[in-house]
């Protein structure tokens, strides 16, 4: 199966007080399966909007998104939820861990309402172990540091083995050192698990290390650069 994502003439328009604002304007881009992609741009350039459309968190105003051969922007919310569950793992800038759940429970949370073939708890525990949080299984988010929290969030995004990991400024709330650790973790996952990673970031240094770098401004892609190193 082809897990590449293709955007065709994507537009996202916000209506605010009678004024139409283009958050995305005519975006045409293809993300190949297993690639590590970075999206950079200043605030309000539309990078987070693009990410939320890719992750099916939101629907485009115009244009189409293809996941392989499947057109996903016309699915019903229930199908979309199932699609997200199967193919997308999300990582947020603010981590968005559920505050009332322990680290382990947070990792298990996407599986809570689903029937799966594997043992949910074992899977979650092994993921936390991979993230180096074996001893933090029963800690609440408030008892974890920022880096630890983001690692729990990554574990949560990976628990159902998605084909794509979407990360919205995963290092934005972290210090440089911790940020670097998280970034390396993502790179490692990209290689080992063969899942594609799309990362939105401010940091040009981090962005340069991606296979494909996309730069956005005012809702448009102004530069698309494929890194030579990894090509």
């Amino acid at each position: 199966m082809d897990f590449s994502i293709e955007c065709k003439n994507l537009n996202k328009i916000f209506l605010g007080d009678g004024v139409e604002t283009y958050a995305l304007k005519n975006v045409n881009v293809t993300f190949n399966q297993g690639e590590f992609i970075s999206i950079v741009g200043s605030s309000g350039s539309g990078k987070s909007t693009l990410l939320s459309l890719l992750g099916t968190l939101d629907i485009p105003s115009q244009g189409e998104i293809y996941f392989g051969d499947q057109k996903i922007n016309q699915l019903k919310s229930r199908k979309l939820a199932d699609f997200r569950f199967e193919h997308i793992g999300f990582i947020f800038q603010q981590f968005h861990l559920l505050p009332t759940l322990t680290a382990l429970e947070n990792v298990m949370s996407p599986l809570m309402a689903r029937k799966v073939q594997y043992n949910k708890k074992e899977r979650a525990e092994s993921l936390l172990k991979q993230m180096g949080l074996k001893d933090k299984c029963n800690a609440l988010p408030s008892q974890l540091s920022g880096g630890q929290q983001q690692r729990v969030a990554i574990a949560r995004a990976l628990v159902h083995e998605p084909s794509w990991l979407l990360a919205d400024e995963p290092t934005g709330n972290l210090d440089t050192e911790t940020g670097e650790t998280i970034f390396q973790l993502l790179q490692k996952l990209n290689k080992e698990k063969e899942c594609g990673v799309i990362i939105v970031t401010h940091d040009p240094l981090l962005a340069e290390r991606a296979d494909l770098q996309i730069e956005m401004k005012d809702g448009e892609i102004i530069r698309e650069h494929r890194s030579v190193r990894n090509a």
Partner: protein
């Protein structure tokens, strides 16, 4: 999923505690409400078995003094005051001498006189023509009737040559006097002293004493034929009538200086005398107002000071006491009043000296001209205080059997059968023939009464029998024996009053004198014989507050869920972005509400189980199940909308970072209050929830307060065709307390959420230097504002309810009700306290943090709050157990109902018509033929010569018949008036049953095609058998009579309308 729910509860303790408090309040509220409904069960039947201990055992009355009401063993209250003579002194002596008689106290009702006394003097010296305007106001407790009159006099040298009639003026000495009608009665001083201790009730002083042997009536001859009788009297200290008179002296604008007086008065005479004076404008010179009580006080004062002027001149006694003519009718509310009567008003003959056309009692005069009236000189020997008379004073019933107090009467419904709230107590009128009359307040000796009244002075004798103290079989036997003996010896009628009991009866007071009916009056009647009287009262009210509490509960659960949803919006968005399906979120909410609802049900079951088991109350399993379903139902209903809304949450909301609340500007945000108002308006849907939840119990509370204050706790109303009492007690307030507590919780949740959402805003404001106090006030203001709006809405709704149910704007109580707005404001404020604490705790550095942090201190504090809440709830439960149970037991014991009692039957007449000449022709009847209206409403229509028969529709058994003769030619000796002719209708009534049928031939009217009505001129009884008093056939019997009418000669088309109180319509007879 369950674990997830539990975690989200348990790890967010502040919220969880609130949820639990809500659950507890709901469960207690529910079990309480069920307790109430179980106790009330719609109807409470209170059975009251109560007997009077009257001061006499047997009452002896003359033959023919029984009224229709006695068919059902009922005596009207104060029936003794309406009797006039009938027993001779010999009969009395005979009874007194009987061995078994301990006391035989006769009472001779003589008649009505007045106690007019000079109260002031008008001091007008400036020459002029004056008008004396007299306005009398009689207050019978329901209506204040105004009676006006005027009178003209002159001051100056000018005097008319004779009476001055042609000038319209009269002599006036300037004295202003006033007084009321008094009922004069004769008693045997010795026996009365023994019976009720009248001698002990005398106010002892130099000039006040009881009767002594030497007090006798003396005749004073004024000339050969006229003589006054001077009688010794003792007077009551009390005045029962509430009337006042105001005298206004006006100087008319007529020149009256010396010299022009003669000219002016000639001018007055030439212009019409009195008529001219009536048109003149005047300037008020003097004004005085006096009440009947002031007059009575003055009379008493004068007697006590030996200055009485009562015997200075002759007093006429023209009016004899008379009873009210009652007629049984269908009770409008049979469950409440089994017995209902209507007063048949008396229509005075046209030539009567009395200025009214109709009265509630038969106007009974000593004679048509003053020569036949009694002439008295009143010699007061003492003053008595009726409250000191030795009779058992039962405040519940106020002894309608005793002689010295006015009968109690309360107006309970107006003419439209709408309950009057609170029932209004009626006062005796200053009118001998009014509905409620005064008891005798001027007493003389029996000898004096005999001298005045002649042959048969005594109206009744109250008997006390030796050795009878208690009501038991022996005394009953003895009394029966004595009564029989009296009847045998004297031929008088007797009734045993020992063991009689109060029986509330409803009397319809119809309109007379073209006025509207007053309405329905409840009086404690006397039920003779040892019977049990039954008071039934249907109570409602449970439903109204159950609905209120349920609504408030649903609003609470709804807002609580909604708030929960808002609070966790981001969390849900995250879950969605992690791949949860939207319907799984709905499911999540429903599972939560199911758990909470089940907890409510379980707690309710526990509480009720405890109540029921410990009190041994039977209840149906269906009911128990219902209670359980109720809790679940509330939570499910409250979850419906949030469960739908949760599906609208979009996953991209998880991407929004540190979103500042969206807002619109409605006000200038230049003050904290402006910021608050803008925020509340932005979130108006939430505010509406909070307002609604406070407004509902506020409405009920204000209404309850109104009932408590204005109506002394009970409001009467009609509900589903029943007369019901809404009794507001502690339980109602408790219920509203519970509802209010839930409302406070709702407000708390909503404002809490508002604070949470504005956390960054507050942090920024604090960082900008706002003080804690400002933020606290701002939040409290928001709560108070919600409360204020809720209070205003509640007040308006309550006022509407009051106007709807009570029928008038509560002007007097308005400020009390307005003050109660404090309660919802407080409720809103209290709801805002905890959120305000939270808002104050927000630190500037938390600007973008958000989220939940459960500090140890907060947890501790909430444990404290929780413990407090628990204690309050526990106290609430104890209170419930304490108050709910007695009611429940009560209902369990009173489930038996007494045997159905035969009530009264009859049709109500709103306004009694007067004589035909004064009747305006009825426009409706002036159609093609004037009779159609009568034909339409007729029960049956026959022609002269035919028979009307009343029979059982199923068995054809005949009850009674009325035959109307065909021969209408009168064979009379006298001649009709010029231009008139006689029409004589022969009637024959036949009664086939052993029951009494009312037959009042004199009420039948002839009506011509123009709608003119003719009353009977006279009637002649041809034949009679068991016919009594021209009104009724008592048992099987027959009466034939000829009633003659006088109608204009040209009239040929006539109908005879037989108004029949026992029939649903009139019998109309065509007469050619």
């Amino acid at each position: 999923m369950l674990k997830f729910i539990w975690n989200s509860w348990w790890r967010n303790k502040e919220k969880f505690i609130l949820v639990l408090v809500g659950v507890l309040i709901l469960s207690i509220g529910l079990s309480y409400l069920v307790g109430i409904t179980q106790a009330n069960n719609g109807t409470i039947v209170d059975e009251l078995q109560k007997r009077w201990k009257s001061s006499y055992d047997i009452v002896v009355r003359p033959q023919g003094s029984r009224s229709v009401t006695e068919d059902l063993n009922l005596l009207e209250p104060n029936y003794l005051s309406g009797l006039s003579g009938g027993i001779t002194m010999e009969q009395y002596e005979k009874i007194r001498k009987m061995d078994s008689i301990e006391i035989a106290a006769p009472i001779a009702m003589i008649g009505f006189t007045n106690n007019d006394v000079k109260l002031d003097q008008v001091n007008v010296t400036i020459p002029g023509v004056y008008r004396l305007k007299m306005t009398e106001m009689n207050n019978n407790g329901v209506i204040k009737e105004i009676d006006e009159g005027d009178f003209y006099f002159t001051v100056g040298k000018w005097k008319p040559s004779d009476s001055g009639k042609e000038y319209g003026t009269a002599e006036f000495d300037g004295s202003l006097s006033y007084g009321s009608y008094l009922l004069l009665a004769g008693v045997d001083p010795e026996e009365e002293a023994k019976l009720v201790g009248l001698d002990k009730a005398i106010i002892k002083s130099e000039n006040s004493r009881y009767f002594i042997k030497g007090d006798t009536a003396e005749e004073i001859s004024l000339d050969a034929t006229i003589k006054d009788t001077s009688i010794p009297v003792i007077m009551s200290k009390k005045e029962y009538a509430d009337s006042r008179i105001s005298f206004v002296v006006e100087k008319l604008d007529i020149p009256f200086q010396s010299g022009e007086q003669q000219k002016s008065m000639e001018n007055v005479r030439n212009n019409g005398g009195l008529e001219f004076l009536k048109k003149q404008k005047g300037i008020v010179v003097e004004k005085r107002t006096f009440t009947t009580s002031q007059a009575q006080k003055k009379v008493v004062e004068q007697i006590m000071n030996n200055q009485s002027t009562l015997d200075d001149h002759s007093k006429f006694v023209a009016l004899k006491p008379s009873p009210v003519d009652y007629r049984p009718i269908d009770s409008p509310f049979k469950d409440r009043w089994t017995f209902s009567y209507e007063i048949t008003p008396f229509t005075l003959p046209e030539d009567s000296l009395i200025k009214v056309d109709q009265a509630y009692r038969h106007v009974n005069m000593f004679g048509d001209d003053f020569n036949s009236w009694l002439r008295l000189r009143v010699d007061p020997v003492g003053i008595f205080d009726p409250t000191k008379i030795k009779i058992s004073k039962d405040p519940l019933t106020e002894l309608p059997m005793e002689t010295y107090f006015p009968a109690k009467a309360q107006l309970v419904m107006d003419a439209d059968e709408t309950p009057v709230n609170p029932p209004r107590t009626m006062k005796p009128e200053n009118n001998p023939y009014g509905f409620l009359t005064k008891p005798p307040t001027m007493l003389t000796t029996l000898d004096a009464a005999a001298k005045l009244l002649g042959d048969k002075p005594i109206a009744s004798i109250r008997i006390k029998v030796k050795g009878v103290n208690q009501l038991n079989k022996e005394s009953e036997k003895l009394l029966k024996q004595v009564a029989k003996e009296i009847e045998k010896e004297t031929g008088l009628i007797t009734d045993i009053t020992l063991g009689s009991s109060p029986q509330p009866a409803l009397t319809h007071v119809p309109g007379i004198e073209k006025k509207k009916s007053i309405g329905w009056v409840e009086q404690p009647w006397i039920k003779l014989g040892s019977s049990i009287s039954i008071f039934k009262e249907t109570k409602v009210g449970a439903s109204s507050f159950i609905i209120t509490v349920l609504l408030v509960a649903i609003v609470y659960v709804f807002s609580s869920n909604l708030i929960m949803m808002y609070a966790r919006k981001k969390e849900y968005a995250v879950l969605l972005s992690l791949g949860w399906r939207p319907n799984q979120l709905s499911k999540l909410l429903f599972i939560e509400s199911t758990i909470l609802g089940s907890i409510v049900s379980i707690i309710s079951w526990l509480i009720l189980g405890y109540i029921y088991l410990s009190n041994d109350i039977d209840t149906s399993t269906g009911r128990i199940l219902l209670i359980g379903v109720f809790g679940l139902f509330i939570y499910w209903i409250g979850t419906l909308v949030p469960a739908m809304l949760v599906r609208n949450i979009q996953p991209y909301e998880s991407m929004k970072a540190g979103e500042i609340s969206k807002g619109k500007r409605y006000f200038k945000s230049q003050t904290p209050i402006g910021i608050s108002n803008n925020y509340m308006l932005t979130r108006w849907k939430r505010s509406v929830l909070s307002i609604l939840s406070i407004a509902l119990p506020s409405t009920m509370l204000i209404f309850f307060i109104f009932v408590t204050f204005r109506l002394k706790g009970v409001m009467y109303a009609t509900w589903l065709g029943q007369y019901v009492a809404l009794e507001v007690g502690p339980m109602h307030y408790l219920a509203m307390g519970i509802a209010m507590a839930i409302a406070i919780l709702t407000t708390l949740e909503i404002i809490w959420q508002n604070v949470v959402e504005r956390q960054p805003e507050f942090a920024v404001l604090k960082a900008l230097g706002w003080r804690d106090e400002t933020i606290r006030r701002m939040i409290l203001f928001e709560g108070g504002m919600n409360g204020l709006i809720a209070g205003i809405i509640g007040l308006l709704l309550a006022l509407l309810t009051i106007i709807k149910v009570y029928g008038q704007f509560p002007t007097n109580e308005f400020f009390i009700l307005l003050a109660t707005i404090i309660i919802p404001i407080l409720a809103g404020g209290i709801g805002a306290v905890i959120p305000s604490i939270k808002a104050v705790k927000i630190q500037p550095y938390q600007g973008l943090g958000g989220g939940y942090n459960n500090s140890r201190r907060a947890e501790k504090r909430f444990k404290y709050v929780f413990a407090m809440g628990g204690a309050c709830l526990f106290a609430g439960i104890i209170l419930l157990l304490g108050s709910a149970i007695p009611v429940t037991i009560n209902s369990a014991n009173t489930s038996e109902t007494a045997d159905p009692v035969q009530g009264t039957k009859g049709k109500v007449i709103e306004v009694y018509k007067t004589s035909p000449s004064k009747e305006k022709p009825d426009k409706k009847n002036n159609n093609v033929t004037g009779f159609s209206a009568y034909y339409d409403s007729a029960y049956e229509r026959i022609t002269a010569g035919e028979q009307f028969s009343m029979k059982n529709d199923f068995t054809d058994e005949i009850y009674f018949t009325i035959d109307i003769g065909k021969d209408l030619s009168s064979k009379r000796e006298d001649k009709p008036k010029e231009g008139y002719k006689f029409i004589s209708v022969p009637f024959t009534f036949t009664n086939y049953e052993e029951v009494t049928w009312l037959m009042k031939p004199y009420t039948f009217q002839l009506i011509d095609s123009k709608g003119n009505k003719y009353n009977a001129k006279d009637w002649k009884v041809i034949e009679k058998e068991n016919w009594r008093g021209l009104t009724q056939l008592v048992g099987k019997g027959k009466a034939s009579l000829i009633t003659t009418y006088e109608v204009p000669e040209q009239t040929d088309n006539l109908i005879l309308v037989l108004s029949y109180t026992n029939l649903p319509g009139d019998i109309v007879v065509d007469i050619k």
